[in-house]
């Protein structure tokens, strides 16, 4: 009995979206304005992990497109998207979740990627290898990584730049 339980726990750690309580990408409930009220995981986000996420090229890579006071030490942030300094004064948690899960539901046709989405993907690839994806069920970020990023963005409560 005990052994089985341990096995189960290990499996949960390696297959997050199958066995865990995460909301699957296609089950996320969006409001009309594109926001998502409910946490994807039920586990509070960790802003420190969120920062790691946002500034790592292989993970969220938010710095590729956004400047933010909260990651001012990251080298060469891009400016394809708007600055995120003070963004917590602009959007609430559910709006931020909606933007991160599927930015297109908030900003129609936006260049910003949809980080927890499986639909309308043309020629999905296996990470950055240029080869075909090995599974159709891969999202850019995991549900918990989204929650961690939201927790981070909610700390960006600086006064908005002029």
């Amino acid at each position: 009995m005990r052994k089985l339980f341990v096995l189960g726990a290990a499996a949960m750690m390696t297959l997050p979206s199958v066995l865990s309580a995460d909301t699957a990408p296609r089950d996320v409930a969006f409001a009309d304005d594109g926001s998502v009220a409910e946490s994807l995981t039920g586990v509070a986000g960790d802003p420190t992990a969120g920062l790691e996420n946002a500034t790592s090229r292989g993970i969220g890579n938010c710095v590729a497109c956004h400047v933010a006071e909260g990651w001012k030490d990251a080298a060469f942030p891009g400016n394809v998207g708007p600055a995120l300094t003070g963004i917590a004064n602009v959007y609430d948690e559910s709006q931020l979740r909606g933007i991160l899960v599927n930015s297109k539901k908030t900003f129609e046709g936006t260049v910003m990627p949809s980080f927890y989405n499986l639909d309308d993907i043309i020629r999905p690839g296996d990470a950055y290898t240029g080869k075909a994806a090995t599974s159709p069920d891969v999202t850019i970020l995991t549900a918990q990584q989204i929650e961690d990023l939201i927790a981070l963005l909610l700390t960006f409560d600086e006064p908005l730049p002029e």
Binding site: R57, N61, V63, A64, C65, V67, A75, F76, P77, G78, N79, V80, A83, V111, P113, S114, D120, I121, I122, R123, P124, G125, D126, A127, Y128, T129, G130, K131, A132, A133, V138, T139, I140
Partner: protein
């Protein structure tokens, strides 16, 4: 955001300064590319009509988007690191290869004469109705006329030769045909240009049309023109072919990319070349 709009916006330049203080500058549109002190290059040209204003009034060579030191390397053939690859190709031009005992020069004469203006109109549709890039013409000569082995699309002998051939059109305006037999290929390429590939759902246009002049991380987005190809990339210490660049850009959207030399990239090459109609052929140019 377009460059002209950004260029004049004081707000934008303030942002650029705040961003880094490092070597980040708007594309210097006043810079002039003059090669070897006498060959003046058209690096900004009126946008072709088929773009219908998508890039504003002008198309702009990727040269303008690079830092001053990299731009400088392209102004002098002694400084341009691609020229040793060209020298290798010039030697190959005169070298007999294959079962027929022929060299390129045996059929085409001096490369300066035989290949003048060729790159400016490539890719183009052959009489047989195929869309051919420089690489296809080269391999057709090698296999059918010389009895030699085809060169790999993306290996040095091929890249070197495309550089040497491009050089014979240097300064001439890109002028690929998009009508008649080329039209269906051009339509296919255009469709690809606006398709949002991969998990990141990004099209060529998302980066090179909507965001040229902006930075994606440290990379200064250009219009993604191919008038400078093959380019010598300092980072790779070697020449990069057009299809290799396309493959890299599609891969970076977390997509399954297309094969170099395949039908999709042929069509895309024609379309992208046509977006630069009017710019001077600059190959081989220099990139960081």
């Amino acid at each position: 955001m377009r460059i002209r709009a950004k260029h004049s916006a004081a707000l934008a330049s303030a942002l650029v300064i705040a961003l880094a203080g490092a070597a980040r500058a708007e594309p210097d549109l006043d810079a002039k590319l003059v090669i070897n002190g006498d060959l003046e290059m058209t690096t900004i040209a009126p946008a072709p009509a088929h773009l219908e204003g998508a890039l504003g009034d002008n198309v702009i060579s990727g040269w303008h988007y690079r830092d001053a030191a990299t731009r400088q390397m392209e102004t002098d053939d002694f400084e341009n690191p691609a020229m040793s690859a060209v020298d290798e190709a010039l030697a190959a031009w005169d070298t007999v290869d294959g079962s027929e005992g022929k060299s390129c020069a045996d059929c085409h004469g001096a490369i300066e004469e035989g290949m003048k203006g060729v790159t400016a109109v490539l890719p183009k549709v052959t009489e047989a109705g195929a869309l051919w890039s420089a690489e296809d013409f080269i391999n057709d000569c090698r296999t059918n006329r010389m009895g030699a082995e085809a060169w790999d699309w993306d290996k040095d002998p091929m890249k070197n030769m495309t550089a040497a051939i491009a050089l014979q059109s240097r300064g001439m305006p890109v002028n690929v045909a998009i009508d008649g037999a080329a039209a269906p290929f051009w339509e296919q390429g255009k469709e690809m240009y606006y398709t949002r590939y991969g998990l990141l759902q990004l099209s060529c246009a998302n980066c090179h049309e909507q965001n040229n002049g902006n930075y994606i991380r440290a990379d200064h987005l250009s219009q993604g023109q191919i008038n400078g190809f093959p380019v010598f990339r300092l980072k790779n210490d070697g020449l990069v072919s057009i299809h290799n660049r396309f493959a890299g850009c599609v891969r970076d959207t977390r997509a399954e990319t297309f094969s170099k030399g395949g039908p999709e990239f042929h069509a895309l090459e024609l379309y992208v070349a046509s977006r630069g109609n009017g710019l001077a052929v600059e190959g081989p140019s220099v990139r960081p």
